[in-house]
Structure formats: C-alpha cells, structure tokens
C-alpha cells in the first residue's frame, strides 16, 4: 500500500500527540516545578543560555489541538559543535513534556517541525544540548483563546 503524504502526516501528528499525552492521565496541569525539573534534567548541570536555538510558534494558536511549531539550532553539526538533542516543553499542559529530538552528524542540520496540543495559554520552551555540554533555551508564549470578536 502506498502511503500518501496526508497519511504520513497523520502518523507524524499522532506520534507527536503520543509524546505529549501517551501515558499521562494526570488531571492537574503541570506546575512550575515539573517544568523546572524537566529543564534541570535535560541541562544536566549546565545553565541554559539564550541564543543559538530559535523556536517558531504562533503568537495565538488558530487551533489549540494542533499547534505547529518548529525549532532551528545554529550548529556546524560536527565535532564539538554538534547539537545532540532538542527538547520541547509546554509549561501549562497536564504533563510539560512534549517531545525530544535527537540528532547526529548525519542529521546535517538540527531543525525539526511538529504539531502539539496546548490545553490553554502557556509558554512553549525549546532547549538544545550541544556535544560540549552547553545548553541553549528559547521560549514563546502561545495564547489559546475563546476567539470570536475581532474585525
């Protein structure tokens, strides 16, 4: 069977959704502690710095159930200047973990695009860890509205 582009995309979106909600049935929303804990674990002792990673996300979500985001890390992708992984967090979701992308020299570039679900207005946080242990962070507030009276 041939997979159409539409079907492939549906799989991808499903996978991203799994990452966010797959095994979490926590009724409460993530607190600042859970987000900070995830950042600390990912940073492994480093202090996240600004720069090198840029997160693109809409200011206001058109549909909170499927919010497109993308990340791009400035990296030569070789030697010490290699971005090894990128983690995405959503600090207002029931579980802040969204997904983690891993890269190798063969990746060529540390860029990724996915779609995620946002329960309410919150920060989306992207962290990049480099091979030399440094960590970079970008964040963007994405607003989820009731909508309906503009124009």
């Amino acid at each position: 069977m041939n997979h159409t582009r539409r079907q492939m995309l549906a799989f991808t979106a499903g996978a991203a959704g799994m990452a966010a909600f797959g095994f979490s049935a926590l009724p409460a929303l993530a607190d600042a502690d859970a987000t900070q804990k995830a950042i600390d674990e990912f940073a492994a002792g480093a202090t996240p710095a600004e720069g090198r990673i840029s997160l693109t996300a809409p200011e206001i979500a058109e549909n909170g159930n499927t919010v497109p985001i993308s990340v791009e890390v400035e990296s030569a992708m070789s030697g010490d200047d290699l971005c090894e992984s990128v983690m995405i967090l959503a600090d207002g979701n029931p579980n802040p973990d969204v997904c983690t992308f891993r890269f190798s020299e063969l990746s060529g570039a540390a860029t990724a695009t996915t779609r995620m679900r946002l329960a309410k207005t919150q920060n989306v946080i992207a962290l990049a860890r480099m091979k030399d242990g440094t960590v970079y962070m970008d964040r963007k507030e994405v607003k989820v509205t009731i909508g309906g009276c503009g124009g």
């Binding site: 009731i146 309906g148 124009g151």
Partner: protein, 562 residues
C-alpha cells in the same frame, strides 16, 4: 521636512476656509472648498503610491463617525491612533468644526455631517485615482488595496463579493491583500481571485496541512523608473477572529520572520523601494516596523485609523488611510541609488459633494446595484438618534442590536461583536435595508440564544478584552470590545487577562452576576460552525417593525479605568 511643511500648508488652507464653520451653510462650505484643494499637491520625485483600505463594500458615499474612545495600552498609550476628539484636533492643528475635523474625529458629528455631507464613494475615488494617473503618468503610479474590500454591504452579501470585484477591477489596482474576503469560504475566494487582473498577495497565508506558502508573498513593480517590491500581509488572526471552518485549508499568523526574508529577497532582486501592504492593524505594524529592517513604507489597515501624517518608526513610514472609502492616501517618492531620498504624503478626504464622481465608475456602480435597488431602499424605521458603531466599548448602533436581541430572542443578556465596520446614520434618517446590512452583512449571521454561566460570560469578556488591550501588540486582534446588552461591568484596561473585568451586574434589577448561575444570552456572529438562529438582520428588522422610531440613550453601563 518637506512632507510636514507641505501638509501643514494644506492644513492652513483648509482651516482658513472653514474658520467660521459654525455659521456657514453647507452650500457656502462646498462653494469654498474645491476639488483642487483636495487633490492638488506639489509633486515629489516621479513615483506615486495610492493606498485605500477597509472599504467594506461601500460603493456609495456614507456617513462614518470616527471613534470618540480608542485607547492604547503600555508604550502606545496616548500615541496615534490612540488619540481622539479634541486631543486629535490639537495634535494635528485642526480647527474644530472644519472639514478635516469632521472627516477625522467625532465631536459634533451629526451637525457637521449636515454641513459637509457624506464621504467616500468609489466613483469619487476613481476621480482621484484618474487625476493622479493623469498628473503623474500611468507608469509612475501604484494603486494598492489593503483588503476588507469585498464584505460589508447588502449587495456584496448577495453577490458573495462579486459586485466589489467588478467595481474594483475597473479601478485597476496593482495588488491587494485580505481579511473578511476569506469569510466567503475557500472555494469562492479562489474563484474570485482567479478572475482578478492583479495580484492577491499574502506573505503570511499558509496551506494549513502542508505548512507551505499558499499565496504569492510579494511582487515587483517597475514604476517611476524604479523597482518597487510590494509584500502582502493578510490579517494574521483571520482563523481566530472569523470562522476557521469556512477556510480550513489556510493558516495565517504574523510570521514576522517571513516578512524579513521577503524584504531581503526583494532587495536582492533589485528593489529600490519596499512596501508592506498590510492588514495587521496599526499597533502590530508599529511593532513590526521596529523589528524588521528595510521596509520603506507600511500601508496599514484593519484597525480603520485615519492619521493625517505618517508615523515614522525605524525609518519606516506608517500610513493609515482610514476606512469605508472615506480617504485615499497619496505618497510621492523621490528615489535615487536604491534609496528613498524624499517623500510627500497626503491623506485625501473624499468629500462626496466636492469631488466629482467619475461618470464611468458611477454607471458601473449603478449597474451592480440595480438588481437590488428596491430592496436596498425599503424602509424599516427611522432613528431620532445618531447611530454609529466605532468606539472601544459601545456604539449606539450596537445598542440597538443588543436591545433587539434581548427583545426578539427573549434573553437576559445580549452580546454583539466589536466590529469596526458599519456605517453611521444621522438623527432623522430613515433606516433602510441597505443601512441595516451595512452594519451586519456577513456570512455567519445566526443570532443564537443559549444558556451561559456567569463565569463563562466573564471569561468571554476577559478574552475579548485581552485581544484589544494586551500590552504586546502581537497578541492584539484589532477589533473593539464585545458590546453587551442587559448587563453592565467595569473594565481596567491595564490589568492582565483574568483581572480586567469586575462588577458585572444585571441592568434589570441591579443584581450582581453569579459565576455559578446560568443566564439566557443572545448574540450573533459566533465563529462556531453549528450556531443556530435567525440571521441578525431578521432579528433587527422584526424589532424595528414593533419599534419603528429608534431613540438610544447614552450608554453608561461600561465603566472604564485607564
């Protein structure tokens, strides 16, 4: 600066004419103010750019009262366009009661409207466009339409934008972008765009499934001997402020990084001048200008502001050309070595009694309206009060809508969207079908009746207030506050979301709104797909049948803290 001096001279000329406006008759005012006063301008350079935006399907001259309340928050508080009334007149040295005061502010609107008459009309706009093309030469003029062109009238509704496309095509614009256009649905929009003999640009419109650009982002024009790149920017929050289900194939957003990339592409392709034809809204464009380098001119739209001088940010001229066909902006540019070296600007007020209608265009407008002429003229009632919509919190036209919703849908509370379109009616005027539809013609008009908890009503007010008063303009959607009937509230515009709204009270009896209690709420223009109810125009028409003379008392139900 050439521009400012020239503008002020024009201003002095106009104010001198209107010096005794209080005692002048309409005929005297018209005799003195001439078409030449409005159109003549000492030219600069070879290139002229003409901008018109937010026509909202107003083919014929209208009354349109500018807002008396238009508040800004944070760093833009008190800056144009958040200056109204006497403050506006003071800021721009405009004589109260003068033609320009009537055109750009609200004081004494009804009286001045009787003196100076209606404004706009695309046949008058055609006269202006032809005049500039004749003066400067066809090859030296660029005409750009900022969108919200196809929606807002009975005839546009009946023809699904077809009347506007036919008339605008005759005006021969070079490019347009859009917002309410999309509410005709993907298929109709595509069908209309295919017929356009000019470009429909949208740097920020993406295919929602493939996340790829869905429209041409920009186009290069050779005019006035130079290359002018025009980047189009549709309203970023179209799928949020309007029903996304009508155009699910398209995604929008500000996408500032895309604009920056297109500016770079355009410069690399040899652009001497870069213009952003924008439907972002003024505050969004002001922020964007501060963050994206290399844009010479932003032709702003969406928030319906008429500002008589460019606002300059990061070497970018922001031009705000009003709405409803009331104004045409002309910007002359002198360009040398790939740079703008001088400019001149005029916000031309389209006084319909002074500017001669273009005969060809007048005939075309009559032709597209003719099939509907009997219905357009059908009278539904009269008004003793000035009816208008613009203003951050309420307008008398919306008070009428809110009263009609409560009465006809048997509700305790009514909600009417804070649209910025909708023309005005003077005391003593008949309310025709055309007038009513000018305030509500749209493709999702169902007037719902539903039960909402006090908590949900507060959430809605907080949400809309944050769209209007978020301190970061990139989170603003550019409409006004939702209008409320049957309930009063206090709003502190400088608070964050969740804390702006307080003292919600039922007007009938003065009882405080209980967050846990359910209330019967009627409203219209919901963005939800399954909304049920009669169209809002039927609701208002039925109400007028029983209440044929409209009198609106001053609305004191919203208390504003600034």
């Amino acid at each position: 600066m050439i521009n400012r001096r020239e503008f002020l001279m024009a201003g002095v000329a106009l104010t001198a004419i209107a010096g005794g406006a209080g005692t002048w008759t309409r005929a005297a005012a018209q005799q003195t103010l001439t078409e030449a006063d409005l159109l003549d301008m000492a030219p600069t350079g070879k290139l002229s750019i003409l901008h018109i935006t937010d026509i909202h399907a107003q083919l014929r001259p209208v009354y349109f009262r500018e807002p008396s309340v238009n508040l800004g928050v944070g760093p833009v508080a008190g800056l144009p366009p958040h200056v109204t009334g006497a403050d506006f007149l003071g800021l721009y040295d405009i004589e109260p009661g003068s033609p320009r005061a009537y055109a750009m502010t609200s004081p004494d609107f009804a009286a001045l409207a009787k003196t100076y008459g209606r404004m706009g009309g695309l046949d008058r706009v055609a006269t202006i466009v032809k005049h500039v093309r004749a003066e400067r030469g066809d090859d030296n003029v660029l005409l750009l339409d900022g969108g919200d062109t196809w929606q807002g009238s009975y005839t546009a509704q009946q023809t699904l934008g077809g009347d506007m496309v036919e008339v605008m095509n005759a005006l021969k614009p070079d490019a347009m972008t859009g917002h309410w256009e999309f509410t005709y649905g993907t298929e109709r929009v595509q069908e209309l765009i295919e017929t356009l003999p000019f470009a429909f640009l949208g740097s920020n419109i993406y295919d929602s499934e493939w996340d790829e650009p869905a429209f041409d982002a920009w186009k290069m024009f050779e005019r006035g001997g130079v290359n002018v790149a025009v980047i189009g920017q549709a309203f970023p929050y179209t799928p949020i402020a309007n029903p996304r289900w009508m155009f699910p194939e398209w995604s929008f957003g500000i996408r500032e990084e895309d604009i920056a990339a297109h500016v770079e592409e355009a410069r690399e392709a040899g652009a001497d001048v870069v213009v952003l034809l924008s439907h972002n809204g003024f505050d969004v464009d002001r922020k964007l200008a501060s963050r994206v380098d290399g844009i010479d001119i932003i032709l702003t739209g969406h928030t319906h502001d008429a500002i008589p001088e460019p606002v300059i940010v990061n070497d970018t001229l922001l031009i705000a050309s009003g709405s409803n066909g009331k104004f045409v902006s002309r910007i002359d540019l002198d360009v040398a070595d790939g740079k703008v070296t001088a400019y001149a600007h005029r916000l031309i007020p389209v006084f319909s009694d002074i500017i001669t209608p273009d005969a060809e265009m007048a005939a075309l407008i009559d032709k597209v309206r003719e099939p509907f002429s009997a219905e357009l003229a059908r009278e539904l009632g009269t008004t003793d009060s000035l009816l208008y919509r613009r203003g951050n919190f309420n307008g008398t036209y919306d008070d009428l809508f809110c009263q009609a919703l409560i009465a006809e849908r048997d509700a305790q509370i009514s909600l009417s969207p804070g649209f910025r379109w909708g023309t005005s009616l003077l005391p003593g005027q008949a309310i025709t079908v055309e007038d009513l539809h000018n305030a509500c013609a749209m493709t999702y008009p169902a007037a719902y009746r539903s039960s909402m908890s006090g908590g949900l009503i507060k959430d809605i007010l907080e949400d809309v207030a944050d769209n209007l008063f978020n301190v970061d303009p990139y989170y603003q959607q550019g409409g006004d506050m939702v209008r409320v009937g049957g309930m009063g509230y206090t709003i502190d515009i400088n608070k964050p979301i969740g804390e702006r709204i307080s003292d919600m009270t039922l007007l009938d009896g003065g009882e405080a709104i209980d967050p846990e209690k359910e209330y019967v709420v009627a409203g219209w223009a919901s963005v939800n797909e399954d909304t049920e109810g009669p169209p809002i125009w039927s609701v208002v028409e039925d109400y007028l049948a029983g209440n044929p003379v409209v009198t609106i008392e001053e609305n004191r139900s919203v208390k504003v803290k600034t």
